[in-house]
Amino acid sequence: MSLYKIAGGTVYDPANGIDGEVRDIWIRDGRIVDPPDDPGTKPDRTLDASHRVVMPGGVDMHCHIAGPKVNMARKMMPDDKRNAEPVRRTAYTRSGTVGSVPSTFATGYLYAGLGYTTAFDAAIPPLAARHAHEELQDTPVIDKGFFVLMGNNHYIMEQLQNNEEERLKNYVSWLLNATKGYAAKIVNPGGVEVWKSTGGNATGLDDSIEHFEVTPRQILTGVARAATELGCPHPVHVHCNNLGMPGNWQTTLETMKALDGQKGHLTHIQFHSYGGHPDDQATFCSEVPKLAEYVNAHDRLTIDVGQVMFAETTSMTGDGPLGYFLHKVTGRKWYSGDTEMEAGCGIVPIVYKNKSLVHALQWAIGLEWYLLIDDPWRVAMSTDHPNGGSFMAYPEIIALLMDRTRREEVLKGVPEGLRERCSLPDLNREYTLNEIAIITRAGPARMLGLPNKGHLGIGADADITIYNPQDDIQQMFELPKYVIKSGEIIVEDGEIRRDERGKLLHIGPAFDESHTDHIREWFEKYYTIRFRNYPVDDHYLGESHELVATQPM
């Protein structure tokens, strides 16, 4: 029960309205506690944080770090690792490889090294939930969880077809319980099923999905409603239809409108904000201003960006037809994996080049999103790791947001045509440190509904990052002075000082058992495994886990 004090740091804790105030933080048993009543109480340990910036640990709400898709990318891409400095084994820590898809141990250490202490994998097929759990157990230091793919699930489509809302809601709950997942995710609703059955794709919200006779719009609103009624801490997490296609901004706008006042999170929205004609790359342009205006006016919508950075990376997605599209565009090696009754997957290596007008526009469109959303609480930083770039690029993105001259430098190296196709060159906004603290920790934690993350108030998990202020913002965020996880110093000056397992974050919404038989009956008709072998039992929760509360309507 030792008492630990972080003394005299300049604290940025936007969730508690603290914007750069010099304060002490008290920690006991891995949590932040009230200062002792007796001002004479001496802590057992003190860390001097004076003249340093203190923030909650970073929260990555959308990345791909575990499970079958990520592991296939590791297997497929030995080339990706040969030019990257590996993570070396130390007396206390395991070794690993880096590149765009780091191995599990490397992933945990690298996130911690950046001052991030929580991350969520955004796309796990339920049938592979065990796999995701095993990898997350081998991803040290950070707390973690995953979103469960539901947008092309046959049972869900059948219930929508038959207007069985109660069954749909209970199945969503059953699935979240069975997988020990954190949130409901939909990826290209309906479109992946079209890919699996015909090699095609859904083209808009009102296409009828063959065999099931439902539309992407019905899937979107049905799952959104179920997540809301179950009181999931994070609302439906939406990867819209038509990712990457010129002209897709209209699908995105339609998706926002279809939610019709319900809560929803639109992910990697950069990839969904393109103007132009689908058959003519030359018409490619940004439509962020129109979409941002809609988001600004509708406070139940949140987004993360999916920023593209100029580098080699790996595209990996639950959007099977998108994988095929990228393979055709790039001509590079391609993995596609369809999961029975549930989901798809596509993986293709990709290089984003600043000399490509399309890539430069994607980069600019991402930044437009950060700069055009008025309320920073509704935009979260992401690269959709590793799709737009590695999470290792976050410090560089922070620097681009805080310093417009850095953006101007990059703009000098991109094709001239960019200026007339987006608004970025006209945007002068610069983020403050407080706003950075919002979009990298406080905001994503609030969007995820994590009561103990992203802030430094009483009862919060003592996950804290301490930076040395520097003129070079990127360097400041690349190399925190200290990273504290659950009240222990894990990283000091970039070195991992001790290993930590981190905990699994999952939810267990209420489920009406009377629906089990109907689910089982359907399951046993089509799956190739036994119903009883599907749910993940407690041994996959690892050494430590937290069941985050749901608040049903």
Binding site: A66, P68, N71, R74, K75, M76, M77, P78, D79, K81, P86, V87, R88, R89, A91, R94, S95, G96, T97, G99, V101, S103, T104, F105, A106, L127, A128, R130, H131, E134, E135, D138, K196, S197, T198, G199, H211, Y324, H327, K333, W334, Y335, S336, G337, D338, T339, E340, M341, I347, V348, K525, Y526, Y527, T528, I529, R530, R532, N533, D537, H539
Partner: protein, 445 residues
């Protein structure tokens, strides 16, 4: 780890375990109904002939829990000696792993990482070439349920599933009625490509008996046809299959709604190796210009797919990984165990659930027999006979819980039938790891 043993249906002595998982082959069927009397499985409902032999032949053997230099020893003594051997080695190899749980595989990888050894699995001697082909061209694939529910055209290539994976035809591919193929076998066309007429030939519509060592040429000719390129009739001389027959097969492949190529070691372990796998994977990929096609290697051992996954997520590479420099490096041929042993490089070995002394080359066996070897095996294998330390282990899936991955990467839980007096691979490896870590941490503190 939780142990869950079903006792719902039976009185104390006779026990029924439902939904148990068979780990004999890569099909990893999880619908076994085992009747257990004491320490013996007397019935294995739903099991195939291979599964039955697996379940009926794994009873508790009258063997010491461990042997050191051929003499019976306690586990504790053996843990100490095993840890000693590995801790003092300069270049230890870890090999096997395909017939144990992922939980045990993870500990084996940890030990190898901590001591800076070489990590390899039986993948390097079976579908390793497919893993390398995957790195070249990728793979368009699906879970077995997709094949069952959608496939109306099947090509079995370089394998004999009727005898190697007996339930593949009936449970996953050829016979079952599926969601979009409601009439089962009647809705499917099946082709077998192989160098000899095996039992599987009877099950298919068309058997293409190709000349040995011509798999690549056949796949390449089909790729040409798929792309609308004229193929020279001399393909018949090379492969033994007339061009007209290939054209006919290709027309069927294009007409299919969903096709699947399921290929075995007849493709990967014949002349060309990973180039053959690349050709087959590329063919399936190219067919997606016309309709949906997928390919899938028919993996052999019960949890070889789990081994690939565990090694990949831990190191970034699937097999043949050196950790000797303190970080993972990958190079098949250099870091694959049979090659490394044949070059007389290793000075100690940790062999888990595999028997290299019965299937490696003579030079590799000679070297393995000359170095201290730690072996974990439920049986007294040839490798256990030459071991410095041989642990008798509980059998995964029969005596222990844990996770295994089916050949299509689906993870499944194990439901053990009866308890073994012997420890699991996981427990033994954990004990060895703890001893090694204690010494290492003492050295730095």
């Amino acid at each position: 780890m939780a142990t869950e043993i079903d006792q719902e249906k039976a009185p104390a002595k006779l026990k029924i375990v439902e939904d148990a998982t068979c780990t004999f082959c890569g099909c990893v069927c999880d619908d076994m109904e085992l009747t257990v009397e004491g320490n013996t499985i007397t019935k294995a409902k739903n099991a195939c002939v291979l599964g039955k032999s697996w379940f009926f032949n794994h009873h508790i053997e009258d063997r010491p829990e461990a042997m050191i230099d051929g003499q019976p020893a306690s586990y504790d003594e053996a843990f100490d000696v095993a840890a000693d051997v590995l801790f003092h080695s300069q270049y230890a190899i870890t090999y096997g792993l395909s017939d144990t749980t992922c939980e045990a595989q993870r500990v084996a990888v940890a030990i190898t990482d901590w001591i800076g050894g070489n990590l390899d699995t039986t993948t390097s001697v079976c579908h390793g070439p497919s893993g390398m082909a995957f790195q070249g061209v990728g793979e368009v694939t699906a879970t077995l349920g997709e094949i069952r529910n959608r496939a109306d055209y099947l090509i079995f290539w370089g394998g004999n599933p009727a005898e190697s994976h007996p339930r593949h035809f009936t449970k996953y591919s050829l016979m079952p009625k599926g969601q979009f193929v409601p009439n089962g076998r009647k809705d499917r066309t099946a082709v077998l490509i192989d160098v000899r007429k095996t039992k599987s030939a009877k099950a298919v519509d068309t058997f293409l008996q190709i000349r040995p060592r011509s798999d690549f040429e056949l796949a390449w000719a089909l790729r040409g046809l798929a792309r609308g390129i004229d193929v020279d009739p001399s393909v018949e001389e090379k492969t033994g299959i007339p061009l007209e027959q290939l054209v006919e097969v290709m027309e069927g492949m294009k007409r299919a709604k969903f096709g699947a190529i399921l290929f075995g070691m007849g493709v990967t372990m014949t002349r060309g190796k990973h180039i053959n796998s690349e050709a087959v994977l590329a063919l399936a990929r190219d067919m997606n210009r016309h309709t949906r096609w997928i390919a899938k290697p028919m993996r052999g051992h019960g949890n070889v797919t789990g081994a690939d996954n565990v090694v990949s997520w831990s190191t970034g590479y699937p097999f043949g990984v050196s950790l000797t420099r303190g970080y993972p490096r990958f190079n098949p041929g250099e870091f694959t165990s049979s090659d490394l042993l044949a070059r007389r490089e290793a000075d100690a070995a940790l062999i888990i659930a595999s028997d290299p002394m019965s299937n490696f080359s003579q030079p590799a066996r000679d070297h393995l027999a000359s170095i201290p070897v730690v072996v974990l095996d439920p049986k007294l294998s040839d490798t256990a006979r030459i071991a410095k330390v041989a642990f008798t282990t509980a059998t995964y899936g029969i005596n222990t819980t844990g996770t295994v991955y089916r050949m299509d990467d689906i993870p499944l839980p194990l439901r053990p039938a009866f308890e073994s007096p012997f420890k699991s691979d996981y427990e033994i490896l954990k004990a060895i790891e703890a001893r090694i870590r204690k010494r290492q941490l003492q050295a730095v503190s």
